[in-house]
């Protein structure tokens, strides 16, 4: 009864104060333009422009919210879409609003169970569970559980446990309560996870300490710890790189945590979804901004709050760039909004966010605002399509995804969504087409596998005929070659032992072929050059024409110079290193012979590239092993030919050949190193001259 009266007085007061102008808070803004970049990440992790997913609908300033002077908003909590709690850490008060954001209650004085007054200081976190508020009373190093009358029935202080050392004060900043009434609290000076208490406030355990990633440093540390004494190991425990900054709990009891990271490039493991055992079901997925400028001068994304909505979409607040990221339940980025700035829709110091219905509320501690962002039709359509797919309504989902594409033809997730729908509906060809547009190689491969099955069924006779014809052709060829390999009557040589057919002969008799190069003048730098050119062309073809299941290359990324280096460049370095070495190791091979042998030896490998390019168009990812085998065969064959061929032309023993190969590789490294060094030096000289010239022109 008392509460009711106080509420109505508050409403009355507010109505008088605000002149009754806004019964529903403040009127919505009427601009559709947004003061921030709207983008998505494409499959190559580059930001590309996208429609605005959310637009700021209303901005409530301190005066609109009825806040008093000196107030600093620090946290927001929404009670079942009906009431909104705002935590004012400046004055140590809690404001309660109805869902029209009319102030209905204000708690600014708290008492202990025995009636003695309690004050809260610098409080940063608030939550609500079973009619009671939980306040992370940061500067008093405690968590309070208070009723809506302001009376605290539980005070949790720093637990008496060996896990926390004396220096740790336990500055609790965030608190949540799980369905079993366990209380989870994050303290910003505890970096080994959240502290878990039972409903009486007894310390139970630590939860969700960040998994240490297996970098070299960590492995080293692990080894070092093996040799430490028990005492040393205890002290070493204080070293943990990541501190949780906030968390939220969903209706199934999964806890979503966000962590601060000191390393800009640390994009994985910042957001985790933990089950009751503390296992991360996100498995180190990447969230937030995943590209940086080339100077790496920007700090990476620093998540400071997380909110999981009823539809399991995730809203994340990045304090580094004052930005909100929204992910669908499938972990697809569906919207980015906000930026640093003084405009409506931007933030100066955003501290917390909360999903209320379909809207996202963000509070700003410096501007002292509560901003309400509403989803636009684009985001609504994405969410709707996801929902339709979950309900198995694939044909409807296709139409919805198409409406998403009408907003944004760049949307990879819409194409992948359409692909998934068609795949479920058995329309594999359409699915493949959509997956191709969505750059989804793996999914494409799965649909392709089904498509191939159907195709085989429909064209069984034709396929059988083609396969048989191919086999016959192979057999005929094999027979012909084996015939040609037999010595011609009246000659010491077979038909293939001519200058013309030497590359073919060398495939089967590398040593014998190499032996004939000098006496019979079979060395042919021209043919060698042609083979190397074919290698380059094969590499290029493979880049562009490898089947989509296996091809993640982008046409725009093709670098002709790089490909040339990888083929002809590598060839040249090898032959030069090998020729140079021959003079030290009394190798007998001439340069033209080395070139000929090396180039001829490449044919099996080049063939394997071409065969794989062809096969990649009819195989699926699961059958990729087959292609690896072809590559391995090609490589081994090439290596064997090269080994035998060079051994023969240089007239080395086996042991010496092995040694010469090792030294050749070393020589290649030296050549590459010198080339890089030269280029670097050249660039440095250039930039030095340039900077001198600039200075002269500027200081004239």
């Amino acid at each position: 009864m008392k509460k009711k009266i106080r509420q109505s007085i508050a409403i009355l007061l507010l109505t008088v104060l605000l002149g009754g102008v806004f019964a529903t808070g403040v009127s919505a803004l009427k601009s559709s333009s947004v003061p921030y970049n709207t983008y998505e990440y494409n499959y190559a992790d580059e930001s590309v422009s996208a429609p605005a997913g959310y637009t700021v609908d209303t901005v409530l300033y301190g005066t609109d919210l009825g806040l008093e002077k000196g107030s600093v908003l620090q946290d927001i909590y929404c009670i079942e879409d009906e009431r909104i709690l705002l935590l004012d850490s400046g004055n140590g008060a809690v404001y309660v609003y109805n869902n029209d954001l009319v102030l209905i209650n204000k708690l600014d004085s708290f008492t202990a169970a025995d009636g003695s007054p309690l004050s809260i200081a610098g409080a940063q976190g608030i939550t609500y569970h079973n009619d009671r508020l939980y306040i992370a009373d940061t500067e008093n190093h405690r968590v309070l559980r208070v009723g809506m009358d302001g009376v605290a029935d539980l005070i949790i202080n720093k637990p008496d446990t060996a896990v926390l050392d004396e220096k740790t004060a336990c500055n609790f900043v965030k608190v949540i309560v799980d369905p079993q009434n366990r209380i989870y609290a994050i303290a910003n000076d505890v970096n080994i996870g959240a502290l878990v208490f039972d409903e009486e406030g007894n310390f139970l355990t630590l939860f969700g300490s960040t998994n240490i990633r297996t970098t070299a440093e960590v492995i080293l540390r692990y080894i070092r710890r093996k040799f430490m004494s028990e005492e040393q190991r205890k002290n070493d425990y204080s070293y943990t790189p990541v501190t949780l900054t906030s968390f939220d709990i969903d209706k199934d009891g999964f806890i979503y945590t966000v962590a601060k990271s000191s390393d800009y490039s640390d994009i994985e493991g910042k957001v985790r979804s933990l089950n009751a055992l503390g296992e991360d079901i996100y498995d180190s997925a990447a969230f937030g901004d995943i590209e940086w400028d080339r100077l790496k001068s920007n700090s990476g994304t620093q998540f400071i709050d997380v909110d999981v909505a009823d539809d399991e979409s995730l809203a994340l607040l990045d304090s580094a760039r004052s930005r909100v990221f929204v992910y669908s339940k499938n972990n697809d980025l569906i919207a980015v909004f906000g930026s640093y700035g003084e405009q409506k829709g931007n933030f100066l110091q955003p501290v917390a966010l909360e999903t209320v219905g379909e809207n996202i509320y963000v509070i700003d501690a410096l501007a002292n605002t509560l901003q309400i962002f509403r989803p636009n039709d684009y985001v609504r359509a994405i969410k709707k399509a996801d929902m339709q797919m979950e309900n198995g309504d694939y044909s409807a989902a296709i139409d919805t995804w198409k409406s998403v594409i009408a907003y944004n033809t760049n949307s990879t997730q819409a194409y992948v969504g359409i692909g998934n729908c068609y795949d479920y509906l058995g329309e594999y060809e359409l699915a493949m087409e959509a997956y191709k547009k969505g750059y989804a190689n793996k999914e494409y491969s799965v649909s392709f596998s089904e498509y191939r099955k159907e195709y085989l069924k429909d064209n069984f006779v034709l396929i059988l005929f083609i396969v048989l014809a191919a086999l016959t052709a192979l057999i005929v060829l094999a027979v012909k070659v084996s015939k040609m390999l037999r010595p011609v009557e009246g000659s010491a040589f077979c038909q293939l032992e001519t200058k013309k057919y030497l590359p073919v002969y060398m495939l089967f008799h590398p040593s014998s072929a190499a032996e004939q190069i000098r006496p019979r003048g079979f060395a042919s730098p021209l043919k060698a050059a042609i083979i190397v050119a074919v290698w380059f062309i094969a590499a290029t073809l493979s880049y562009f024409f490898t089947g989509f299941s296996f091809n993640e290359n982008r046409a725009v990324d093709f670098n002709v110079f790089y490909t040339l280096l990888q083929t002809a460049g590598l060839f040249l370095v090898f032959v030069i290193a090998n020729y140079g070495l021959a003079s030290f190791m009394t190798g007998k091979g001439k340069f033209s012979e080395i070139v000929t042998v090396t180039a001829y030896s490449l044919t099996p490998y080049i063939a394997s590239i071409l065969i794989n390019t062809a096969f990649s168009n009819i195989l699926t990812q699961d059958e990729g092993m087959f292609m690896s085998i072809i590559t391995a065969v090609g490589l081994l064959w090439t290596f064997f030919m090269l080994f035998a061929g060079l051994m023969t032309v240089h007239q080395y023993s086996v042991g010496k050949t092995v040694l010469s190969f090792l030294i050749t590789v070393f020589g290649m490294l030296v050549i590459i190193f010198l080339a890089v060094l030269f280029i670097t030096l050249y660039a440095q000289v250039l930039s030095f001259v340039d900077s001198i010239a600039r200075e002269v022109s500027i200081r004239q």
Binding site: Y61, D293, E342, L348, L366, N376, N408, V556
Partner: protein, 746 residues
């Protein structure tokens, strides 16, 4: 204590007196009017704060009083009796303002200067006219025709600065005689804040300021909102001659019109910069715990100083392309119904009609298409990369698009065609030959399109960009003719990454063309262009770009560029001209402004956006929205258009935009014609009856009649009500559906 009560009393009397006068509607005689006085002055007050106002000039509308020793003045509106002081007359009583700002309040001019002997990073220092000239009695005031000339002598710095105040028929003109400014010694003036406190109001006053950001916005006094440093922005947008490696998307609107205003109760002081506006900034300050007043004014930027780091040492240089000529600002006193943003807009429109010769539109109402022709994309042949032109919309496809819309009920069309010549959408060289691209169908198809559009009475604006380029050629040299910084280095304009706002590695970077070349290249182009027989031309970038060239040898300032633009526009009289963005200098000459500002950048200080820009131009220069198919909420944008009589715009390509995903043009993600053509036709059907009625009528009033419901009244009496609420609203008996509009004819 006594002093305070006295001052409150005087305030009250002053407040009530003019109110009564204006309410009774009696045009008061000068001798009946309140005389200007300063408050809180007693025997103990230092001489430097007292004033002796004498009547220096007058006409039927205004009285101009001046202190002949200090140069302070007061402007009185004879109709309402309201007196506007050059600096607040209650400043002596002010107990809020602290520090240097206390003397700033008494100053009519605040200077930023640079000490040439500074070593290291350049920083601007400030001084004000009160402490450096008035206090030393170094101000000379002389009477000139209908006003006074005030000359400040700043001995400390060796400057002499003359200004002239003269009464015009219904305004006060303030002229800073820049050519007569004398500088000596080691100091250089960087900028001058002109009358920073003219019309300034203390924190208890009920009033607001008109901020010219984007379409215009209103900021109330003392709204208590947090802000870091008030509002300051360059007229016509940021300076491109200064390299910017990082950009913020937050600066999404520029100042398009060089105006500002301040109100107090039922009176308003409205200002427009009438000469030299391109070299000015507008600055607003808000009362806070440490600053007692709200003010808005302009700042003339004479030159810039910049510092760069070379080999780990700072080098500093002043720009040499100093502002020259006169800098003038006009102030109008408005009262009653005119003391509103509508009234200010009407005053400015009248000014543009009289002084700039702005004329009523001759274009019939249209649905606008912005069509993209060809783009330059990377391609490869067997791995060998090369650039090729890719057609997004050919000339015949564009005709097909127009035909479809016409058949589906669209009543009139306007087509702007980008990327039809030269190197496609993005210039490599500055355009010269005006040759329609063969990949789009060549000259023959271009002519066919032109003929077809003429036949269906559609407007046709082939677009050419004469400001941005990436390589030398066509009579333009990259080294000689591009914009440079103070050190003579070419300034590259970057393309920025969306995620982290810094320059892209492989972005579409470009250079800007020097002012002295602009006229020549356009003339050369027009010689060829005229053969194509198109009646219109779009000079998109000339509506949105203004920049200086800070090179000390052959630089130019922003005002020089703007006057070269003005010459181009005047010389193009035979063509129907379209521009983009619509800076004032382009919008008055153009027939159409594409993507005109419909909102402000939404600074927290702004209470609400107002369609000031639309009120000024509607009926004179046709304005369009930003593309409806690219906005987050097209219904909202449509209602914004209806509210202001703005025409609709769609961005289109004929083919499938998903093909652009891997190109730098992926921001065209919503342009596929097939995906928006029905929507465009529907919106046109909904809007056309209203548009036909009002397209050439000036707006006389715009008001928010109830929460989220806006009324726009045109000169023929037509009133349009737009309801932004989700639910139906009734306003003076007129029912307006949720997110809908209603037209009432009279």
């Amino acid at each position: 204590m006594k002093k305070k009560i006295f001052s409150i009393l005087v305030c009250l009397i002053l407040f009530i007196l003019p109110l009564n006068l204006s309410i009774s509607g009696i045009s008061a005689q000068s001798d009946e009017l309140q005389k200007p006085t300063r408050l809180g002055i007693d025997e103990e007050t230092s001489d430097e704060y007292t004033a002796d106002y004498t009547l220096a000039a007058q006409n039927d509308n205004l009285l101009f009083y001046a202190d002949m020793e200090k140069g302070w003045f007061a402007l009185q509106n004879r109709r309402s009796g309201k007196i506007w002081y050059s600096n607040p007359n209650d400043a002596v009583l002010d107990d809020v303002t602290t520090g240097i700002s206390r003397t700033d309040i008494f100053s009519d001019y605040i200077f930023e200067y640079y000490d040439n002997s500074t070593v290291g990073e350049a920083s601007a220092l400030t001084f004000n006219s009160h402490t450096t000239a008035v206090r030393q009695k170094n101000v000379s005031v002389e009477k000139v025709a209908s006003g006074i000339k005030v000359t400040y002598r700043f001995d400390t710095f060796g400057f002499t600065v003359p200004v002239i105040y003269s009464l015009l028929e219904n305004s006060l003109e303030v002229k800073v005689c820049v050519d007569e400014i004398e500088e000596s010694g080691n100091y250089s003036i960087l900028s001058i804040r002109v009358l920073p406190n003219f019309g300034a109001a203390n924190s208890d006053t009920d009033g607001w300021m008109l901020i010219p950001d984007g379409s215009g916005a209103i900021a109330s006094f003392g709204n208590g909102r947090y802000n870091i440093d008030g509002y300051e922005a360059l007229v016509y947008g940021r300076e491109y001659a200064e390299e910017k490696t990082k950009i913020s998307a937050a600066d999404n609107q520029n100042i398009r019109l060089p105006v500002f205003g301040i109100t107090e109760g039922s009176n308003a002081l409205f200002a427009a910069i009438t000469e030299g506006e391109a070299s000015a900034a507008v600055r607003a300050e808000f009362s806070s715990d440490s600053f007692g007043y709200n003010n808005i004014s302009s700042k003339l930027i004479l030159r810039t100083v910049s510092t760069i780091e070379v080999n780990a040492q700072n080098a500093t240089r002043l720009s040499d392309c100093d502002f020259s000529g006169d800098y003038t600002v006009r102030y109008w006193c408005l009262d009653g119904d005119n003391a509103s943003y509508s009234g200010m807009a009407v005053a400015y429109r009248d000014y543009l009609i009289e002084e700039k010769g702005m004329k009523k539109t001759e274009l019939s109402p249209a649905l606008n298409l912005n069509i993209y022709g060809a783009i330059d994309v990377k391609a490869n042949f067997l791995g060998i990369p090369y650039k090729k032109l890719k057609s997004l919309t050919s000339f015949s496809e564009a005709a097909e698009m127009a035909a479809y819309l016409l058949e589906n009920g669209v009543g009139g069309l306007s087509v702007r065609y980008e990327g039809w010549t030269n190197n496609g959408f993005f210039n490599k060289k500055i355009p010269k030959n005006a040759k329609p691209l063969s990949v789009l169908g060549g000259k023959k198809d271009f002519k066919a399109l032109n003929d077809y559009l003429t036949e269906i009475d559609a407007q046709f604006y082939p677009d050419a960009d004469f400001l941005r380029f990436t390589s030398s050629g066509n009579g333009v040299s990259k080294n000689k003719d591009s914009v440079k910084n103070t050190f003579g280095e070419i300034v590259e304009q970057y393309d920025y990454m969306l995620s982290v706002d810094v320059e892209k590695i492989d972005g579409n970077n470009y250079y800007l063309l020097s002012a002295d070349k602009v006229g020549t290249v356009i003339n050369n182009f027009l010689k060829k262009y005229s053969a194509l027989k198109a009646s219109g031309i779009s000079l998109g970038t000339m509506g949105s770009y203004v920049y200086a060239d800070l090179n000390t040898e052959d630089g130019f300032n922003r005002t020089a560029l703007v006057s070269s633009f003005e010459n181009v526009f005047k010389a193009l009289g035979n063509y129907s001209i379209a521009v983009e963005g619509g800076n004032m200098v382009s919008a008055v000459y153009a027939d159409k402004v594409f993507d005109a500002p419909l909102s402000s950048s939404g600074n927290n200080l702004f209470e609400k956006d107002v369609p000031f820009y639309q009120i000024v131009f509607h009926g004179y220069t046709v304005l369009t929205t930003s593309p409806l198919n690219k906005t987050a909420d097209d219904r909202l944008l449509f209602l914004n258009a209806v509210e202001t009589g703005t025409e609709l715009l769609f961005d289109g390509i004929y083919g499938d935009a998903s093909a652009l995903n891997e190109t730098p043009y992926n921001s065209l993600y919503s342009t596929t014609f097939d995906l928006w053509k029905t929507k465009a036709a529907d919106y046109d059907k909904e809007y056309r009856p209203l548009l036909e009625k009002i397209y050439d009528k000036a707006i006389i009033r715009h008001t928010e009649v109830s929460d989220g419901v806006y009324e726009t009244v045109y000169e023929d009496g037509t009133a349009v009500y737009v309801n932004y609420n989700a639910s139906e609203q009734t306003v003076s008996g007129i029912k307006i559906g949720g997110m809908d509009f209603e037209t009432v004819s009279r």
